[in-house]
């Protein structure tokens, strides 16, 4: 079945402050959408609200993945339904090795009695890590503990590759990456392009889009998508920045809820 992801009128708040003020977006499998915008406009909130972060409360709107109500699902159920969020700040979990964690995540999908064989798992993990130019030793390191910023981001992409999701949200995957790491991460994403898989790439730099060509570009300001277009929109933003959009729409302060995004 072709993947279809629909967000309608999504509003969300954190600690009583409304950050998302009505998001509408429709995505199909095979499409890459980029959400761009300056800091503090609600981009990361959108990512967190879609995945079900407990701090964000959705107050209005619907989100469906292949017709299924996502907002009604727990965080783990969303993942099992095919959603994947590569986080801006992945948690560090001491004592849980990367490979034990990934195997638990894979087996959660496969169900009891159908667990992945250890050999198959190791082979998959090793090959994915090789593609991401990760040191094999990272399989046995504790989950994200002591990883550099770039290593954490690669590890997020590794998880994405191994979990084979239908809808991938990349939240500022490019922040803190040097140019080599950016290329490697982008290659990982490009390799995963598939007609059944949609990508929602959140970034405030255009540079990632030099490596991953989006089909659609959306600009977020004040908790809404204020402008949408094709790849040419990203190119214009690279050249001219965001001021022309603010002027066009009569926006003076593009931020929302004084939320600080890094």
């Amino acid at each position: 079945m072709a993947t279809k992801f629909v967000i309608e009128g999504l509003k969300a708040q954190i600690e009583g402050k409304e950050i998302l003020k009505g998001i509408n977006l429709e995505m199909n499998g095979g499409e890459i959408h980029a959400i761009m915008g300056p800091n503090g406009t609600g981009k990361s909130t959108l990512a967190s609200a879609l995945m079900g972060h407990p701090k964000y409360e959705v107050t209005e709107g619907t989100v469906t993945l292949n017709g299924e109500d996502v907002l009604d699902m727990g965080v783990d159920e969303r993942a099992l339904a095919g959603m994947f969020l590569a986080m801006q700040y992945p948690s560090e979990i001491a004592g849980v090795t990367n490979s034990d964690f990934l195997r638990s995540a894979i087996n959660a999908r496969r169900g009891e009695g159908n667990e992945i064989s250890l050999i198959k798992f190791i082979r998959q993990m090793e090959s994915s890590m090789k593609g991401l130019e990760m040191n094999p030793e990272f399989a046995h390191r504790y989950l994200n503990e002591g990883f550099s910023g770039g290593e954490k981001k690669r590890n997020e992409i590794l998880q994405m590759m191994m979990l084979d999701p239908k809808l991938v949200i990349l939240d500022e995957i490019d922040s803190g990456l040097d140019i080599d790491a950016l290329r490697i991460v982008a290659n990982g994403v490009n390799e995963m392009k598939h007609e059944d898989r949609g990508f929602l790439i959140i970034t405030h730099y255009q540079r990632l889009l030099n490596y991953i060509t989006p089909d659609f570009v959306h600009v977020m300001m004040q908790g809404r998508i204020v402008k949408s277009g094709g790849p040419e929109l990203a190119a214009r933003l690279e050249q001219d920045g965001y001021d022309w959009i603010k002027e066009e729409l009569g926006i003076t302060d593009e931020t929302v809820g004084q939320e600080q995004e890094a």
């Binding site: 783990d76 993942a79 986080m87 948690s91 979990i93 004592g95 995540a105 979990l163």
Partner: protein, 433 residues
């Protein structure tokens, strides 16, 4: 003294038990002296725990142990903890040791590994010299009573320059509530020797209350290295009071690995006295509290030697209504220049009714030293749960992974694979899974 202390053990019993064991007169004499001392001593006072409110009287009575001829004849609860074909093994069943084996190879090297009662007869000079030097009868009433009433136990002597690769193992099983159960472990590692010793304390099918008043003494002479791993997994019928002490001579090294997995009330005090220069003590302790357990765990390092180093690391998980007081005491004496004492206590709380106090205590009487502590008491981090769940892992599994992860660094240090696996299983049970 205005109040006459009524002791749970009487001199007549000590004499009677000694006779039943055919004990050497010097030892019985020591026991009686310890008993006399007990009458004048107070109970120990672990931080924030009032032992006078505890029932510490269930000493039981000495019942002669019946030796068995093979591992397969041991009670199942003990067998479960022993790898088949284990060569170096001592098993105590209630009041006495029922099985002892030592490989010819180790025996030929001069290693002594036998129950302490036998050692007191056959290796009188050594036992006389070291028994009661690390856990002194004069410390408090409980240690005095221990020295009066101990039974079975282990004596391990590793001669000078002998380095042992294979861990020596002991199991202490209590399954008769009327039988006294008070093993004493005495390890003497002679100059430049190296040894790993592992034991388990376990109970099964008890029909009444038991007090385990246990003591461990480790004497590491110059340059000796001792790794000591112990797992306590008594049922709720057992009140466990355990004092473990190591004395380190110059350049000696001890590593304590302790799993506190009892279901009953527990006071455990694990301490190293770093007498010599260049000594090193490393203590790693994990504990899980469940039910309505009352727990008091103290880890202690006392530095006398110059350039001595200690590390203490405790991780505890508290669930249901368990209450734990976790103390880390680093004491650096005057003259112990360049000493370095570090400690960390971390407590993970799984229930609002559980309690966990972490008390890092630094007592420093010397200027030219380093010392540090870190303590934390907290719940499972919701961001971590969210992260794991966002990969499809259920909330229950996410919590389990995080809790195991919290304990894993210490479990991984257990030197016998079978015991690591068993410990995992106990951890699962203690966590209610």
């Amino acid at each position: 003294m205005t109040l006459q202390t009524i002791l749970p053990v009487q001199a007549a019993q000590i004499n009677e038990w000694a006779e039943a064991r055919g004990e050497a007169a010097w030892l019985t004499e020591r026991r009686l002296q310890a008993l006399e001392l007990a009458a004048s001593l107070e109970l120990p006072k672990p931080e924030k725990t009032k032992l006078d409110r505890w029932n510490l009287s269930d000493y039981g009575t000495f019942k002669a142990a019946v030796p068995v001829s093979s591992q397969s004849a041991l009670p199942a609860a003990a067998q479960d903890l022993i790898e088949e074909g284990t060569q170096n093994l001592i098993v105590q069943h209630n009041s006495g040791v029922v099985f002892t084996s030592l490989s010819e190879e180790l025996s030929a090297k001069g290693v002594i590994f036998t129950d302490l009662e036998t050692a007191a007869r056959e290796h009188e000079v050594l036992v006389k010299k070291y028994l009661g030097t690390a856990v002194k009868p004069s410390e408090h009433q409980v240690s005095a009573l221990h020295h009066a009433a101990w039974n079975g136990g282990v004596f391990l002597y590793v001669p000078k320059n002998v380095e042992l690769e294979v861990p020596l193992q002991a199991v202490f099983l209590s399954d008769d509530a009327s039988a006294s159960f008070a093993p004493h472990i005495l390890v003497v590692a002679d100059t430049n020797s190296r040894v790993t010793y592992v034991d388990n304390y376990v109970s099964a099918g008890l029909n009444g209350k038991v007090l385990h008043n246990g003591a461990v003494e480790v004497i590491a002479l110059d340059g000796a290295k001792v790794q000591y791993a112990t797992v306590h997994q008594f049922g709720k019928e057992v009140t466990d009071v355990s004092y473990r002490r190591a004395l380190l001579s110059n350049d000696a090294d001890i590593e304590w690995i302790v799993g506190e997995m009892n279901d009953g009330d527990t006071v455990a005090d694990t301490a190293t006295t770093l007498n010599g220069r260049g000594t090193h003590s490393d203590a790693k302790i994990i504990a899980i509290g469940s039910g309505a357990q009352k727990l008091n765990f103290t880890t202690r390092a006392v530095h006398f030697g110059k350039s001595s180093e200690s590390d203490m690391f405790t991780r505890a998980v508290m669930r249901e209504e368990a209450q734990a007081i976790i103390n880390g005491i680093t004491k650096i004496e005057h003259g112990a220049t360049k000493a370095n004492g570090q400690q960390t206590e971390k407590v993970l709380m799984l229930s609002p009714a559980a309690r966990g106090d972490a008390n890092p205590i630094l007592l420093i009487d010397e200027d030219d030293v380093m010392a540090g502590h870190a303590a934390s008491v907290g719940k499972v981090n919701p961001e971590q749960i969210y992260y794991l769940m966002s990969r499809g892992i259920s909330k229950t599994d996410a919590e389990r992974l995080i809790i195991y992860g919290f304990l894993a660094p210490i479990i991984a240090e257990i030197p016998l694979e079978l015991l690591r696996t068993r410990l995992q299983r106990i951890v699962e049970r203690k966590l209610g899974q």
